[in-house]
């Protein structure tokens, strides 16, 4: 399994997707944190350093999680798109092992990515808050950091599962983002919040927020729900992949 993970790592770092993902996350995190701190207190927004301002400023995990979802999709569906899946399966004919290696790598990478992104956002926020005279952030930073790491890993796994189930890069990316942004955030969280809180995005928001969010699950329960979704969808994807023929 270690060799398979090394092979998957080599594939990932020899294609541009991971670098593009890192650059986009870095740029958007920088923009989001800068705007969150510098515009705080203007136009009726909460003052800089207030709990709601800090929570909003440090909500970078949502961004890194979406990027990891897409990277997870590309790691699997991209192989079908470019037909490299044939050489992958010729080298390792046991398809379940290939998917397990991809899932293990992406989960680790997503966890690291989520943690680093949050760390970077926090570091930048501390510098900017200090410049504005705020020297204490009154939120549970350790828990938010842990939540960002967990969400990154889980969303990467959801991406792997989605990529394996659809085998279509464009469909999986558009479908995944539409599910999160339109179905869950746009519709269910407003219309049916008691159900939405049990879904991956609801659980993700509860896990990554620096404080308990009203109407959502408690962070510990949300973490279990998120891990449960990621595990269940990966198992389903493995089962489907093993039964399905390579086209």
């Amino acid at each position: 399994m270690n060799t398979l993970i090394r092979i998957e790592w080599r594939k990932l770092v020899t294609s541009p997707a991971v670098y593009v993902a890192a650059a986009i996350t870095l740029a958007l995190t920088t923009a989001s944190v800068t705007v969150g701190v510098l515009l705080a207190g203007y136009s009726g927004t909460p003052p800089a350093g207030s709990p709601s301002n800090v929570e909003k400023t440090l909500s970078v995990a949502a961004l890194s999680s979406m990027v990891m979802l897409v990277l997870g999709i590309l790691a699997v569906a991209g192989e079908y798109r470019h037909r490299t899946i044939i050489s992958t399966y010729l080298a390792e004919p046991h398809h379940g092992r290939v998917l397990a290696a991809k899932a293990t790598l992406l989960a680790a990478l997503g966890t690291a990515f989520g943690a680093v992104t949050f760390g970077f956002g926090l570091g930048l926020a501390v510098i900017l808050y200090t410049a504005r005279g705020v020297h204490h952030l009154d939120v549970d930073l350790a828990r938010a950091w842990l939540g960002a790491a967990l969400a990154g890993g889980c969303y990467a796994l959801l991406g792997v599962a989605l990529g394996a189930l659809t085998r279509n890069t464009v469909g999986a990316v558009l479908g995944g983002l539409a599910w999160v942004q339109i179905v869950e955030v746009g519709i269910l969280q407003g219309v049916w919040p008691s159900v939405a809180k049990w879904l991956p995005t609801g659980a993700g928001v509860a896990v990554t927020g620096p404080g308990s969010v009203p109407g959502l699950l408690a962070p510990g329960s949300a973490a279990l729900v998120l891990v449960g979704w990621a595990t269940a969808l990966c198992l389903l994807a493995t089962r489907v992949s093993l039964r399905r023929e390579l086209r």
């Binding site: 294609s15 490299t84 899946i85 050489s87 399966y89 390579l246």
Partner: protein
């Protein structure tokens, strides 16, 4: 070592019978051509041989084992079947990944790029490669594990005359050293020059099998022999 055996290989896709009871042996040290019209089941048979599709019935084995039971399969079989490459990865990186998959060093990958005449283009993204360069890159990746069996689907596609000559020399040399070459091709004139044996499929069924000179009556007119055999199959 290096024998390929099909035993009653059958593959159905719902109501369509892609391969119907194919039984044949392919010997080591020879080049065996796999011929047949489009849709006759050649690629499906090759995919079943390589574990990429599951037979409905029967079996296909290499050295007596199904592909998925071969330890380190790319050390035994080098296959070029619908070769796919990430367009934004360099040729060298593709072959080095194949080397890692086969458990051999990167030096072997670089040497094969040189052998295939790709060392000058090895650090360019594959998106800029011609069809012929992709064929050679696919072959370099297939050979990186130093296999003794080659399974090639349309290996002459996209090659210029020099490339065809090089491929012809390479395959002949590989077989003369005891390797097994099993290739499908529509270029019957090329096949007539290099193949020792032929399997001819028509509509999923084996129409003819044997040494090429027996099929052609000792001439190089494989095309006429092929047309006659396939039309006899249609008539029956």
């Amino acid at each position: 070592m290096g024998t390929i055996a099909f035993r009653g290989l059958t593959k159905h896709y719902r109501a369509v019978i892609a391969v119907d009871g194919l039984t044949a042996d392919i010997e080591a040290g020879r080049i065996t051509a796999f011929l047949g019209p489009n849709g006759s089941g050649k690629t499906t048979s090759m995919r079943a041989l390589l574990g990429l599709t599951t037979p409905t019935a029967g079996s296909a084995t290499i050295d007596g084992r199904p592909y998925r039971d071969l330890p380190r399969p790319t050390r035994v079989v080098g296959a070029v079947l619908d070769p796919g490459f990430h367009p934004n990865r360099t040729g060298r990186r593709h072959v080095r990944i194949a080397a890692l998959q086969a458990g051999v060093g990167e030096a072997r990958a670089d040497a094969l790029l040189e052998t295939m005449g790709l060392s000058g283009a090895a650090d360019r993204w594959v998106r800029g490669y011609s069809l012929g360069m992709r064929q050679r890159l696919g072959l370099a990746a297939a050979l990186v594990g130093d296999p003794h069996v080659l399974v090639l689907d349309e290996p002459f596609n996209g090659l210029d005359p020099d490339g065809i000559q090089t491929m012809r020399r390479f395959l002949t040399g590989f077989a003369r050293q005891g390797g097994t070459v099993f290739l499908s091709s529509h270029l019957l004139s090329e096949v007539a020059h290099i193949a020792d044996d032929a399997l001819i499929l028509g509509w999923g069924r084996l129409v003819s099998a044997g040494p090429l000179d027996q099929l052609t009556g000792g001439t190089l007119d494989l095309e006429s022999a092929f047309q006659n055999l396939v039309h006899q199959e249609i008539a029956s």
